[in-house]
């Protein structure tokens, strides 16, 4: 992975500056049953093609934004600040790995 991502705040930067937040999926509105919850939490469409996803400019402006990326070529077609709309709310990045040294 070595492509460039145009951050909506900072402009085009190396992908290594960013953290990937996963593809954007729909968070259930009402309480899901176990199966629905499982598919919301663990199943992704994983398309070979253009996908909308979350990115975080970790070594830059520290903002989350959304991008449309072609997963076959890593071409980033568009980036924009998040649209805050309920039905587009994502399941979020995978829960971050727990620190392996105990923390206080």
């Amino acid at each position: 992975m070595s492509f460039l991502i145009p951050c909506p705040n900072c402009g085009s930067r190396d992908v290594n500056e960013f953290a990937y937040g996963g593809e954007i999926a729909v968070r259930p509105e009402a309480r899901p049953n176990v199966r629905e919850l499982g598919s919301y939490l663990y199943f992704r469409r994983n398309v070979a093609g253009v996908q909308r996803e979350w990115w975080f400019h970790r070594l830059g402006c520290e903002a989350w934004f959304q991008a449309e990326r072609d997963t076959r070529t890593n071409e980033v077609l568009l980036t924009e600040r998040p649209r805050a709309s309920r039905d587009e709310a994502p399941p979020g990045p995978e829960a971050p790995a727990l620190p392996d040294t105990p923390a206080v």
Binding site: F56, P93, A95, P96, T101
Partner: protein
């Protein structure tokens, strides 16, 4: 032996350089490479081959082949033919047992037979299984080239540089320079990289930057070109990439084609023109293109006698074979005619060096007319110029391969790197490896140091012949980075392990603290006496540097609603000036982090996280804020603030000495947050009790941290104050059964099973993780995190097994000796059925089972009287 001065020579004969080969002094001139100086000193054998340990000499003299790999100043696998000579350089042969001239391992070449066929190790060394350790030792010895310098990590330093450039030209030959000049003339910013030496001289003009000697390692997505510039890896991002890598002279395949004295035309040219050396005294020249034949003039001018010239375009001999004595070329047979010689110049045409283009996505096709692969259809923003683009000065005929027959019985090498012969390739085909990609993996052709530069084309030719088809049908193997060999140190770069220190760090060092890592932080393990430190907290007062805690300010009109929606605990009704604890969960109901949240005023909350969780939590908060688009701002203040926790029965007395604030229990009670000056420093004071005693956490601006700490220690001395470290803190919190996220919980733990149902407010409309926790509640708890107390004196190991009916059924997550309780205590995950007061547990310790009892309430001060006092 040098020739008289020649017009184009690069050497400066006015000065002499001394270097050492196998410990013996040798001489050369500035302008020499290690290789040319060795050649001048009479050396002809430069290496021993990988498998058969056959002697090998200079073949390409341009850094393409594996024949001159040596150990220079401790660095293995240096191509000495391109390595500029340095005064005092220490040079050694490699891959030999004994010396280059007498290599014991060369018996492998003689006995041939059993050890040589491809796939031999794969097939043989798997049986019998128990002999594997033996095989492994043997294989480790014979595999690989060169010896690693184990001290290199300390003596050599590598760095990475990131650069943007408009035009990057790879290759400094004529075409590359022209392209660079033209781009620079258009006003573009141009950088040219070239692997050869002498950059300055070739890039006269100065309108663009030259980096040399430097090698482009590959072309990646987004126009990324990593360039190996010795000690620096430059990661170029180019808007436009011009590839001018030229073409590579191809060897011919015939028996004895690897003998010392068999050279490619370029080697002859460089030896004579640049270093004024005579490559041999009597030569045979066999070539399929103009370029090979044009060295004849050079050889004559160097005083080499020409025995015969075979132009493969004009004649097609049926048999070519070279014969040697002791690995050195002695004669060449062309259709039965024997010619004595010590130099054979061979050329099978020139193959465009297309690898970088192929990596960039170009299509590569076989041009049957010229017998080479050429790039067609380049991707946008990549350009090819010169020979690599297929503009070869003169056409060559596709070269044939020649194999033994008659009395020529020598080995015909298709790949000199990996010692693969035509016989090996035929065997692979017979075994069914009929696709070139499969055969590559089986025979390892193109996988050696030359990366296919000299063996791709000959092997494709051989494949086509053996399969009775043409080269186009065979195709080629995928070109992958790195295109040039690169040392692992360069790729790894300098260690950028960040170490974070608190603003009080130096004081800890002065106090003789033993430090430890927690994430990137350096923290105090203890000041030498953890048990004494624990006692001080229980009996008097202690102070611990907790600046590493994550500190995040969440503010804005929606701040309360935001936290209410994010955390399982309730925050909407938290009054300003009050503090509440919560774990932070994911939508899967898992515990991610924990900490306290203090409400500073209506719109501002001060959120603390674990020491290693600060960044993760602030990203998480930012992310949900982006998702929900609420009126909230999240600021991570972790580095900006220092914090000290003062705890113990005399903590109030100490604090009272340093502040005007009313610190009485009535006006500053448990879980209150206040802002005041302490020792003149503006602080946020949080009355919380992670260690179980009356305690205050003082948060202040980092630059004041050290002063605050020193003042506390000074003014608390007569109260019995002792600084304490993480080890003491671990014992103290364990006595209270306070969990450590990451130690007592893992990526599967949820708040219900971790024994904290009270932080989960199911009656809230929504919070992240609510659905999952509801499902957990419905299905019932399977495991529980519980306290335990050992019946005996042993402290079980953390991670130790809980055994039920002889089977592992849980694990110890924390265990310590408590001096206060005079017992070994701990926390463990156990099956839910065992989560009952006094239930008996069996814990495996060193293979024995030790008994313990479950304790559901804190071991010490279960009702929190000390905390609230």
């Amino acid at each position: 032996m040098r020739l008289p001065p020649r017009p184009q020579e690069r050497i400066d004969r006015s000065r002499e350089l001394t270097f050492f080969f196998e410990g013996e002094p040798r001489h050369g001139f500035p302008g020499d490479t290690v290789g040319s100086a060795l050649f001048a000193s009479g050396r002809r054998v430069f290496s021993r081959s990988f498998k058969y340990h056959r002697p090998r000499g200079l073949l390409c003299c341009s850094g393409q082949c594996p024949n001159c790999l040596m150990q220079v100043d401790g660095v293995p696998n240096v191509r000495v033919c391109t390595m500029p000579l340095r005064e005092g350089a220490r040079v050694r042969g490699q891959n030999v047992l004994g010396s280059l001239d007498r290599d014991v391992m060369s018996v492998v070449d003689k006995i041939g037979g059993p050890f040589t066929p491809v796939g031999f190790y794969y097939r043989t060394m798997i049986r019998p299984r128990r002999a594997w350790p033996l095989y492994e030792r043997f294989l480790r010895n014979v595999a690989g080239l060169g010896k690693i310098d184990r001290g290199a990590g300390r003596t050599r330093r590598f760095d990475t540089e990131h650069r943007r450039v408009e035009v990057l030209v790879i290759g400094g030959g004529r075409a590359g320079i022209e392209a660079a000049r033209a781009a620079a003339a258009r006003g573009e910013q141009v950088v040219l990289v070239d692997e050869g030496l002498g950059p300055g001289e070739r890039a006269a003009g100065g309108s663009f930057e030259v980096i040399a000697p430097a090698r482009a390692l590959g072309i990646y997505e987004g126009g990324l070109v990593p360039v190996d510039a010795g000690q620096v890896l430059i990661r170029f991002r180019a808007r436009r990439i011009v590839v001018a890598t030229g073409a590579i002279e191809q060897p011919l395949v015939f028996p004895g084609n690897d003998l010392v004295g068999v050279m490619l035309p370029g080697a002859v040219r460089r030896l004579t023109d640049e270093w004024s050396l005579r490559p041999g005294s009597r030569a045979v020249v066999i070539g399929a293109d103009e370029r090979a034949l044009s060295v004849v003039a050079e050889l004559r001018s160097a005083g080499t006698e020409i025995a015969r010239v075979v132009d493969l375009r004009a004649e097609s001999p049926r048999r070519i074979a070279a014969e040697g004595k002791k690995g050195r070329l002695a004669s060449v047979l062309v259709d039965g005619e024997g010619l004595d010689c010590d130099l054979l110049v061979m050329s099978g045409g020139r193959q465009p060096a297309y690898s970088l283009l192929a990596q960039a996505g170009a299509r590569i096709e076989y041009d049957a007319g010229r017998g080479v692969f050429v790039p067609i259809e380049l991707p946008a923003s990549v350009e090819a110029v010169g020979a690599v683009a297929g503009e070869l000065p003169s056409g060559a005929t596709p070269a044939a391969t020649y194999e033994g027959g008659g009395k020529a019985r020598g080995k015909c090498f298709v790949c000199v790197c990996e010692d693969v012969t035509t016989k090996d390739v035929r065997r692979a085909i017979a075994e069914g490896f009929d696709s070139i990609e499969l055969a590559k993996r089986y025979t390892t052709v193109t996988m050696g140091p030359c990366q296919g530069r000299l063996c791709q084309l000959p092997s494709v030719r051989l494949y086509a012949r053996e399969n009775g088809t043409d080269e186009a049908a065979i195709g080629r193997t995928t070109a992958r980075p790195p295109w040039a060999p690169v040392s692992l140190g360069l790729l790894a770069g300098r260690g950028h392990e960040p170490a974070r220190r608190t603003s009080i760090h130096e004081r800890h060092v002065q106090l003789g603290a033993r430090m430890m890592w927690t994430g990137a932080w350096r923290r105090v393990h203890s000041y030498g006496d953890p048990a004494g430190e624990v006692r001080a907290v229980h009996e008097a007062v202690g102070a611990i540097d907790v600046s590493t805690l994550g500190k995040i300010l969440v503010s804005g009109p929606d701040a309360a609603a935001f936290l209410e929606r994010l955390y399982p605990n309730r925050f909407g009704d938290l009054r300003p000036g009050r503090i509440r604890y919560s774990v932070l969960g994911t939508d899967a109901g898992r515990i991610m982090d924990d900490g306290t949240i203090a409400r500073l005023d209506d719109d501002r909350f001060y959120v603390t996280t674990t020491s290693t969780g600060a960044d993760v939590v602030s990203e998480w908060l930012e992310w949900w804020n982006a998702v929900w688009g609420m009126g909230v701002e999240v600021v991570n203040l972790t580095g900006a603030l220092a914090a000290v926790n003062v705890a113990g029965p005399r903590a109030r007395e100490l604090l009272g000495r340093l502040t005007d604030l009313d610190v009485s229990n009535e006006s500053f009670s448990y879980l209150d947050a206040k802002q005041a000056h302490v020792a003149g420093v503006p602080c946020l004071l949080l009355r919380i009790g992670f260690v179980g005693e009356l305690g205050y956490e003082l948060h202040c601006s980092s630059p004041y941290g050290e002063y605050l700490w020193s003042t506390l220690l000074e003014r608390g001395a007569d109260l019995g104050l002792r600084p304490f470290g993480l080890e003491a803190q671990r014992v103290l919190r364990l006595e209270k059964q306070h969990i450590l996220v990451g130690q007592d919980t893992d990526s599967e733990s949820n708040a219900l099973e971790a024994g904290m149902p009270w932080v989960v407010k199911f009656d809230k409309d929504e919070f992240v993780g609510k659905w999952a926790l509801e499902h957990v509640r419905e299905r019932g708890l399977r495991e529980r995190l519980v306290g335990f107390e050992m019946t005996g004196w042993t402290v079980p190991p953390e991670g130790g097994q809980i055994v039920v009916d002889g089977r592992p059924a849980g694990r110890v997550t924390s265990a310590r000796w408590s001096g206060e309780l005079r017992r070994a205590i701990g926390l463990a995950w156990v099956p839910a059925a065992l989560a009952e007061e006094d239930a008996e547990l069996a814990i495996r310790v060193d293979g024995r089972l030790e008994q313990a009892r479950v304790r559901l309430r804190p071991f010490l001060d279960p009702d929190g009287e000390r905390l609230r006092s």
